[in-house]
């Protein structure tokens, strides 16, 4: 390529890699170079920029073929280390899904761990059952396997490398455990995921160089992009990748099983894509910085598809360790590993420098117009708002006698205690009144419950109903974000609607 050329090709870069004089920088190094010397110089000097990410990628799995037993079996149900694996095809092909959990140690060990153990060379136990056919007569089998016993051990991940992801918080009064990890009540912490400026798709946001057939770093070995990932949503910078690779060659350092308390298991995947700097535009794009990448702060306490948001935040702020939510400083930590993401980018760089890794131009680029649609639902599910009715209320200075009368005249079991602006203070039940009579108590303050379990109007009824059962109570005041009482739902309302 002459110095004046405005473009270079993948083949020209590969020629340089073979000769050992390709210039390869990690995405981090590229950003520094562009800042110091500008895009023009960076384009002239740099042939390839390596990216990397290392996060929990739940839509991961492995296709394995275990060979035929004698007599042969057409597997119907199978388990590896007590994790159910599925049998999507013929007799002895299995799919190990990262999120399938062990029946003996659920939430602690799952498909992700099975994949990690196999990659690490450990022996795993296979159990399988079958209904038996004339050609496959066997009905059960038990054996141990290592990766060397498998014919194929193909990592096949249908959604990896998310371009960016939400920052999660929890505005409720209770701790919640999510796929975004443990979220403390009243927004006392925040979590995020993604490598930001090191993410492969962020460095080539128009997918000029990526698509079917792009050779990548996957789990410590060479793998390939095989198309857009599921839920690929390029228009709002939420692109994803579908990838595959030979897991026999991978290393457990870059494929690690993970357990999220009360959520389930997953697999952390090291994934890196080399971006050939084919033109100045790509040199500029690969200079993108964390301060230019924004994501939403999302309230995970609302279990709906569209959760409320608390504004936007940059990856620079996220990586700084604290962000501001509702004018309050909140500490934030990552779920994906920046250290490992850097290691992926550095490993890929050294592979190219050593001539072990040649670039490929995609056979077909990733689409830039896919839309991620919500589910078509043919059955409506009930929400709290659909059964809630007005609450019978009282104030804190009313005599118990008056409250007892109200329970009788309104024929209810629950009276909600509010202040003069209608905000929730407590709850009194007919049982509390009975007890007050028996024990001779006169003041409402002595009998009301102040630690009130509540519901929000836009919550699914089923979740509110579970909360009642969990706390062994029969009603939930429904409140808004300012704790103003909007109404009440009772277990009778729920059973009338849900039939239980």
């Amino acid at each position: 390529m002459s110095n004046q050329a405005k473009t270079r090709t993948v083949e020209e870069i590969n020629e340089k890699i073979r000769r050992g004089d390709a210039q390869v920088l990690t995405a981090e190094e590229m950003k520094r170079l562009v800042e110091e010397s500008g895009v023009e110089v960076a384009f002239k000097e740099v042939d390839v920029v390596t990216t990397g990410t290392f996060g929990a990628m739940c839509s991961s799995g492995a296709v394995i073929n275990i060979g035929h037993s004698d007599p042969p079996i057409k597997i119907d149900h199978a388990w590896i280390n007590d994790v159910e694996v599925c049998h999507p095809g013929a007799a002895v092909d299995l799919f190990v899904g990262a999120t399938n959990m062990s029946e003996k140690q659920p939430f602690e060990y799952g498909g992700g761990h099975v994949i990690e153990d196999l990659v690490a060379g450990k022996e795993v136990e296979l159990r399988a059952t079958a209904y038996g056919t004339d050609c496959y007569p066997r009905t059960s089998i038990k054996t141990t396997l290592t990766k060397d016993d498998l014919n194929q051990f193909c990592l096949l991940n249908f959604r990896n490398g998310y371009q960016r992801y939400n920052c999660a918080v929890n505005s409720s009064d209770e701790i919640i455990y999510t796929y975004m990890s443990k979220l403390l009540p009243r927004i006392r912490n925040a979590t995020f995921s993604g490598a930001g400026e090191l993410n492969p798709l962020m460095n080539d946001p128009d997918y000029e160089t990526m698509g079917m057939g792009t050779r990548i770093f996957l789990g410590g070995a060479q793998g390939y992009i095989i198309g857009e990932g599921t839920q690929h949503s390029p228009k709002n910078l939420n692109g994803t990748l579908m990838v595959k690779g030979d897991a026999k060659k991978m290393t457990p350092e870059f494929l690690q099983g993970a357990a999220f308390t009360k959520y389930g298991t997953s697999l952390y995947v090291g994934l890196g894509v080399p971006i050939p700097i084919l033109n100045e535009g790509l040199a500029k794009k690969t200079a993108i910085k964390d301060s230019e990448i924004f994501t939403d702060i999302v309230d995970y306490s609302v279990p709906r598809r569209d959760r409320p948001k608390f504004g936007k935040v940059s990856y620079k702020e996220l990586k700084s360790g604290s962000i501001t939510v509702n004018d309050k400083k909140v500490r934030v930590s990552s779920l994906s590993s920046l250290k490992m993401a850097k290691k992926v980018a550095a490993s890929l760089k050294s592979w190219i420098n050593e001539g072990q890794f040649l670039l490929t131009a995609p056979v077909e680029r990733l689409p830039t117009n896919t839309v991620f649609k919500p589910m078509r639902q043919t059955e409506e599910i009930p929400f709290v708002v659909s059964v809630m009715h007005p609450a019978i209320t009282c104030t804190e200075n009313e005599p118990i006698q008056a409250i007892a009368e109200r329970i009788v005249t309104k024929s209810v079991n629950h009276i909600v205690v509010v202040d003069n602006t209608g905000k929730l203070l407590g709850i009194v039940t007919s049982w509390d009144i009975t007890r007050a009579m028996a024990e001779g108590k006169k003041a409402l303050a002595d009998i009301e419950s102040r630690n009130v379990i509540t519901a929000k109007p836009d919550e699914p009824l089923e979740i509110a109903s579970k909360r009642m059962a969990q706390h062994n109570i029969s009603a939930l005041p429904v409140i808004d974000i300012e704790r103003k009482v909007l109404g009440i739902i009772t277990s009778e309302d729920v059973s009338r609607l849900l039939g239980r």
Partner: protein
């Protein structure tokens, strides 16, 4: 300052032993965390190094179990430095160092009396150590 973990049995918890020792020895004991109810409980406290031996003996004489807590165990083989634990830590004992590795400051950690990070670790690399080493 040295850390001691004081465990009260159900029989001992109703006696004002900690208060008596603080008064008797004039020890400026800082209580880092306390979980005590009528069934017993434990207090993690900090005492000046030069008084530690005396204070430990004083508690033991009154029939209270005292250990020097080894607070937390981190399996560095398992930890892949995601950092999920960092923002949860109430005493800011966990941080990312220069090369983005997760570091635990065992001096700051209050250990088994907190353990908030333990079930948030996706690699299951953190163990809270319930039984601290016996102080001789």
């Amino acid at each position: 300052m040295g850390r001691i973990l004081i465990r009260f049995s159900e029989e001992k918890v109703s006696e004002p032993i900690a208060a008596q020792i603080i008064i008797e020895y004039k020890v400026p004991m800082a209580i880092l965390s306390a979980h005590v109810n009528s069934k017993g409980g434990e207090i993690l406290a900090e005492v000046p190094d030069d008084m530690e031996e005396k204070i430990v003996k004083a508690f033991r004489k009154r029939g209270v179990e005292v250990t020097v807590p080894k607070l937390i165990e981190v399996d560095n083989e398992k930890c892949f430095s995601c950092g999920s634990c960092i923002a949860l830590c109430p005493v800011e004992a966990i941080s990312l160092d220069q090369d983005s590795s997760v570091q635990f400051d065992k001096e700051k950690c209050v250990g088994s009396t907190c353990s908030i990070c333990v079930d948030a670790c996706p690699a299951r690399a953190i163990k809270s150590v319930k039984n601290g080493a016996k102080k001789s």
